[in-house]
């Protein structure tokens, strides 16, 4: 009977599998390790961002700054590696520290000044993109051998697919987030705050600490996504990742998490990401869509997925009777 709470998750997975099957039916070459590997690699940075976004959305908040943080991280790394002799690993640590602290600062403002996350993180979005501009408006290439080495770490599967370290990193991030969200007190407090901040406070949840941590996690993961993105493109560019926040939010929501907070699964987000990636891949395979039809089709597919989910949910809950306490009481 427990599965009723996980229903949205199962529905997302079912939606993904169904859609993938349909794609393969139309373009048989979509069933290849290449496509699978690409789904993982190309969406690695988005996936990692979406994990952070899942934390935030589960707590009833939203973080619009992630796209800018990714851009900032990339530019920062590129500029630092160009102008200094710091090892990339050290630069990674520094930039993760910066983005985590930035997230924490937003969390502090949100909690202590009681301002809506939407607006605080919108200001954060302007700020981070602005700082990226200030560092460099030009796109700065990164050609450190360490980057080359990281990029050379992949497993070439039969069929030509390259499973890269960034894809692995994304999967690990998802696994870690699952553990944290479901098996630690902090994770449960995230759900608690999302259920009702006021009630959570009355139940003794340390709201201040948890909120700050949530946004710190989101900022830190956006920083990590920025590192992945810089690996992906070997460069830092201040205009990178514009609008990523909306993609991440869409992925989280398609993954079955409620924007109102308190309900959802990070595993769902993973499949949300995969669904978004599938839409992109499908459009590339189709290759006949003009620029405008591309946008329209993305919109229509987004809508279709949402409706498919609603439909599946409706069909399944129609059969599951309402929980009955009287039956359970002795």
């Amino acid at each position: 009977m427990r599965h009723s709470t996980k229903l949205p998750l199962y529905i997302t997975i079912a939606t993904f599998l169904l859609a993938y099957a349909l794609c393969i039916a139309e373009y048989p070459s979509m069933l290849s390790t290449r496509v699978v590997a690409n789904l993982l690699t190309d969406n690695a940075f988005l996936g990692i961002t979406a994990v952070g976004m899942t934390f935030v959305i589960l707590s009833g908040g939203i973080d619009l700054s992630v796209g800018s943080v990714i851009a900032f991280t990339g530019v920062f790394l590129a500029v630092v590696l160009r102008d200094t002799h710091i090892h990339p690993l050290a630069a990674f640590v520094i930039v993760l520290l910066i983005t985590t602290l930035f997230g924490a600062a937003m969390g502090l403002i949100i909690h202590y000044l009681e301002m809506p996350p939407f607006i605080v993180t919108l200001a954060g979005m302007f700020l981070m993109r602005g700082l990226a501009y200030v560092l460099s408006t030009d796109s700065v290439p990164i050609d450190h051998e360490f980057y080359g080495w990281l990029q050379s770490l992949y497993w070439k599967a039969p069929g030509g697919g390259r499973f890269r370290i960034t894809g692995l990193l994304m999967v690990l991030t998802f696994a870690g987030a699952m553990l944290v969200l479901h098996r630690t007190r902090f994770g449960r407090n995230v759900y608690a705050i999302g259920g009702s901040a006021q009630t959570a406070q009355l139940m003794g949840v340390p709201c201040a600490r948890t909120t700050v941590l949530i946004y710190a996690v989101s900022g830190g993961l956006a920083g990590l996504a920025g590192i992945v993105f810089s690996l992906y493109t070997s460069a830092g560019y201040s205009l990178a990742a514009v609008g990523t926040e909306l993609d991440a939010i869409a992925a989280v929501v398609i993954g079955g998490t409620l924007l109102t907070g308190g309900s959802g699964f990070v595993a769902g987000t993973f499949f949300g990401i995969m669904i978004m990636g599938l839409i992109q891949t499908y459009i590339v395979f189709d290759g006949t869509l003009s620029s405008w039809w591309t946008k329209i089709v993305i919109g229509v597919l987004l809508f279709t997925f949402i409706m498919l989910q609603k439909g599946l949910a409706w069909v399944t809950t129609g059969r599951i009777p309402r929980a009955s306490a009287s039956a359970a009481r002795s």
Binding site: Y191, M203, G204
Partner: protein, 508 residues
């Protein structure tokens, strides 16, 4: 333990101001180990506020609190929790999106290798809840259980957290007798261990049953602390209200019911309430009795179209009628005062005035606003008529005390001049004075020819005003009492008889 004369918790000079209200004025409260201390007062007297000041949910504007002789200054509920004060706040304050077990253990989940040990948590939760006679699946979402179950979970959580003091703010408002007794036995066990318990309720018989002493508040001031063994019920009520209260002992003359207003045939909703037949007459109060989860609320909601029936038919004065949504019902001058006022009733941020005229305005339509003067007149009329205590009509309704919110909701529906008034637990959280007033009001409305359908878990109350009582069990109507048959004992029998019958059926 009673030999220890030092209070566990001693609060002195507690003051709390809200804009326009002095909620607490120099309040003192002393709790001794092993005692159950009642905190009594009318709606809006300041009981809940006092609790919140003690636990740090509100910052207080003055006063000192000592725990075991040490001065403490709880900044938030967490710090008082850590100091050993467990609290059940008024209105269930749990998280519907978490499982029952998690609600019980939030913040102190058992861990293994740093990770939450889910299996153990569920097992422990089952153990704890069984002490309260609750055989629920702790792994399921809290929201899948009724308010009563949630209330018990809240109590269990507070008990687990209370090392020194347990505070219960109207924990019994939605519990029936058996649960209350189980809770009392838990309380007795705790006091035997030397805990101090604060118990807030409007049920004076419960106070007299379990409490040792009582502190009585009126308008934010302490009017006295007394030993309950030495006080009579009338004394307490008089202290609370500042006046005498004539007890409602009078049984209603059950009059002659008028025409059939609404007649339901085979009316029901899958998964909520089995099909039933029912006739509601003008000038008649039909009571709905049953245990928790027996389907009383579902009946009310189906009749009002809030959870519309999916089978059967309804006729209004003989004419077929669709009850597919609340608006359809309201058009026929139906009204429903819901059970859960926080989520189904009040519109928290709106002023009391706006809350009162909301339904009337909704029925008038978007483009025919009620004139300002009329709004003012209606609001003031009902505030006076129902004695709603508030700083001003502009106060957002969420700032009113629970009982006063309930009255304001009643006012909302009375303002629409309903033909059929459905009341789901109308006296939940209402003080003795207002309780009597509401019973009198129901009487008066009935006498004026209104049809009423009232669900309540207080049998005495049902008996006091019902013309007929429909008994429910397991979402099914199982009996009906009318006229002279009506008595608490008869209701209990009706429920139990059916239970016996059901068992026999199973055996057969």
């Amino acid at each position: 333990m009673q030999t220890d004369t030092r209070p566990v918790l001693h609060a002195t000079g507690i003051s709390k101001f809200f804009p326009g209200v002095i909620a607490l004025d120099d309040v003192e409260l002393a709790l001794y180990p092993g005692e159950v201390h009642a905190l009594l007062g009318e709606n809006g007297a300041g009981k809940s506020t006092l609790i919140k000041c003690l636990t740090g949910a509100y910052g207080r504007d003055g006063g000192t609190i000592t725990l075991d002789g040490q001065e403490i200054d709880p900044r938030d509920p967490l710090s008082s929790q850590e100091a050993g004060i467990g609290t059940v706040y008024q209105e269930v304050n749990l998280l519907p999106n978490l499982s029952v077990a998690e609600n019980l253990f939030l913040g102190r989940q058992p861990r293994r290798f740093g990770m939450i040990d889910q299996r153990r948590m569920v097992r422990d939760a089952r153990g704890i809840l069984s002490e309260y006679g609750l055989e629920v699946d702790p792994a399921r979402l809290l929201s899948s259980y009724s308010i009563a179950v949630q209330q018990i979970v809240a109590i269990a959580r507070a008990v687990e957290l209370s090392g020194k003091v347990l505070i219960l703010d109207e924990p019994t408002a939605s519990l029936d007798r058996d649960e209350v007794q189980l809770m009392f036995s838990v309380i007795r066990r705790l006091t035997a261990r030397g805990l101090a318990v604060v118990f807030i309720t409007h049920f004076l018989d419960q106070v007299q049953e379990i409490c040792d002493r009582a502190t009585i508040l009126r308008n934010g001031r302490v009017v006295g602390t007394l030993k309950l063994a030495e006080a009579s019920r009338t004394d307490i009520v008089t202290m609370m209200l500042g006046r005498q209260l004539e007890e409602v002992t009078r049984h209603p003359d059950r009059g002659v019911p008028g025409e059939v207003l609404l007649s339901l045939r085979g009316f029901g909703r899958r998964g909520a309430i089995e099909p039933f037949d029912m006739d509601l007459r003008e000038g008649e109060v039909v009571g709905l009795a049953g245990l928790l989860g027996s389907g009383r609320s579902e009946t009310c909601n189906a009749v009002f179209g809030a959870d519309p029936a999916d089978r059967g038919e309804a006729r209004l004065r003989g004419a077929p009628l669709g009850l597919s949504n609340p608006r359809a019902a309201i058009r026929q001058r139906f009204a429903l005062c819901p059970e859960d006022r926080k989520t189904d009733g009040i519109v928290g941020e709106l002023s009391v005035r706006e809350n009162i005229i909301l339904s009337l305005q909704a029925r008038q339509g978007w483009f025919r606003p009620l004139p300002r003067a009329r709004i003012e007149a209606i609001a003031e009329h009902y505030v006076k008529a129902l004695d709603i205590r508030l700083a001003s009509l502009d106060t957002p309704i969420r700032l009113l005390s629970g009982g006063n919110q309930q009255k304001a909701l009643l006012a909302r529906w009375l303002a629409t001049d309903p033909a059929l008034l459905i009341l789901d637990e109308p006296t939940r959280g209402i003080d003795v004075g207002a309780h009597a007033e509401i019973i009198a009001l129901i009487e008066r409305l009935r006498a004026d020819g209104m049809a009423l359908l009232v669900a309540s878990s207080e049998m005495e109350e049902l008996v006091a005003y019902s013309t007929r009582i429909v008994v429910l069990r397991d979402r099914r109507q199982v009996g009906e009492l009318a006229g002279g048959e009506i008595s608490p004992a008869a209701i209990v029998r009706a429920i139990a008889a059916e239970e016996g019958a059901a068992k026999e059926e199973v055996l057969a």
